[in-house]
Subunit: 200 residues, 2 copies
DNA sequence: TATAAGTTTAACCAAATGGTTAAATATGCC
DNA sequence: GGCATATTTAACCATTTGGTTAAACTTATA
């Protein structure tokens, strides 16, 4: 395995992501980010003038992965149910790799001071799902429902376990590996759920 | 309408709940809580020695409402699907009255420093649903599924819109009243979903 | 009226924290 | 070598914040 040398800027962004995601904006310390990046606080401010500026950089990239842009996938010519199955697989995979992502994004979105950072809204996701749904509905291939409500349910079912992870670990007396296995099973379970909901 | 005079302690707890729920632990200021309660900081510390102690009091009450204890409802002798319908109605009603509850509880649960506050775990909810489910499953009245996965889905579907509320308001160009109406519709939609999932 | 508890005011403290600065040192590049 | 940029060190500053204290004032009650 080749060791790729990260530039200082990259090291900082990586460290900032880690700390912000773990501790939230208020809970994060510039000193802590500097420590994780293996540099000192002065250099941190040398690269990113303020905590706010640094946060914005990190957050921008993250919010877009949380509200996934499904463009290509949803424009494929396959049944709507299959698109949703693909969504579930992709999204759960993302969450398994970024278990802190949901709480981080939802906190920021709900933070008055940080709402200015939210530039690119996930209108696309909703629009694409709705359009793709109605095409299929007219063909009589899916049951009648409100696509907006459906996408909320879908995302909710995917993210909830990651938000409540500490509680679930305790409830099931499980460790991280067991949790991940439970989420793998969950992918199949959710696919079954949406099939039942969507199939007329 | 009779004006009921709140005791100072009650005023403080009410104010603390409001501020903690809105700003989170880190984001909350003792001065702010005192202001909302209409008293001064000295008196605040006179009643509750520290921020931690005050937070614990508020959080204790809240976590139990977030993971609802369904004891009586689930022991009723009615079909499992009906129990779930009752759950949805009750839980969505609670969330409509406490829209900040989910983010507050989930943040606290995920906060290392605050994990000591979590004493009473919601094992009951999971146990009751599971037991109630298996009784009904043996009678062939519900489809086969993993009750733990199901309860996660149920809670996720209920809470997600409240967590993503700022985004949804923006996406649908809606105000608070419209959002509440959307959630009222959602109750019916979710009932349909679970019926489809559970009915063999 | 005397006593105790509740409440206010205002000043104060110590620690944490975001951010700055200046000088020294290292590094790469012409 | 000499120059610019990157990096470190370390001290420093202003502000915020949780928490304390002491003295004065209010209120109810015995």
């Amino acid at each position: 395995m080749v060791q790729i040398e990260l530039s200082t800027e990259e090291k900082i962004l990586k460290a900032a992501e880690e700390v912000f995601m773990r501790d939230g904006y208020d809970g994060s310390r510039m000193q802590d980010i500097a420590d994780v990046a293996g540099i000192n606080k002065a250099l941190l401010h040398y690269y990113f003038r303020s905590k706010d500026k640094l946060f914005e950089k990190v957050f921008d990239a993250k919010i877009q992965s949380f509200f996934p842009q499904m463009g290509e996938k949803f424009s494929q010519d396959i049944p709507f149910v299959d698109k949703i199955h693909i969504f579930i697989e992709g999204y759960m995979g993302l969450l398994l790799k970024n278990p802190y992502l949901p709480l981080f994004v939802l906190n920021t979105v709900n933070n008055k001071d940080k709402s200015a950072f939210i530039k690119k809204l996930p209108i696309e996701l909703s629009r694409q799902v709705a359009q793709s749904y109605y095409v299929e509905f007219k063909k009589g291939n899916v049951r009648e429902l409100n696509p907006a409500q459906f996408i909320m349910s879908l995302m909710g079912m995917c993210i909830f376990p990651f938000l409540a992870k500490p509680i679930l670990l305790d409830m099931f007396k499980a460790d991280n590996a067991t949790f991940d296995k439970l989420m793998e099973e969950r992918i199949q379970e959710l696919k079954r759920y949406v099939t039942l909901i969507l199939t007329p």
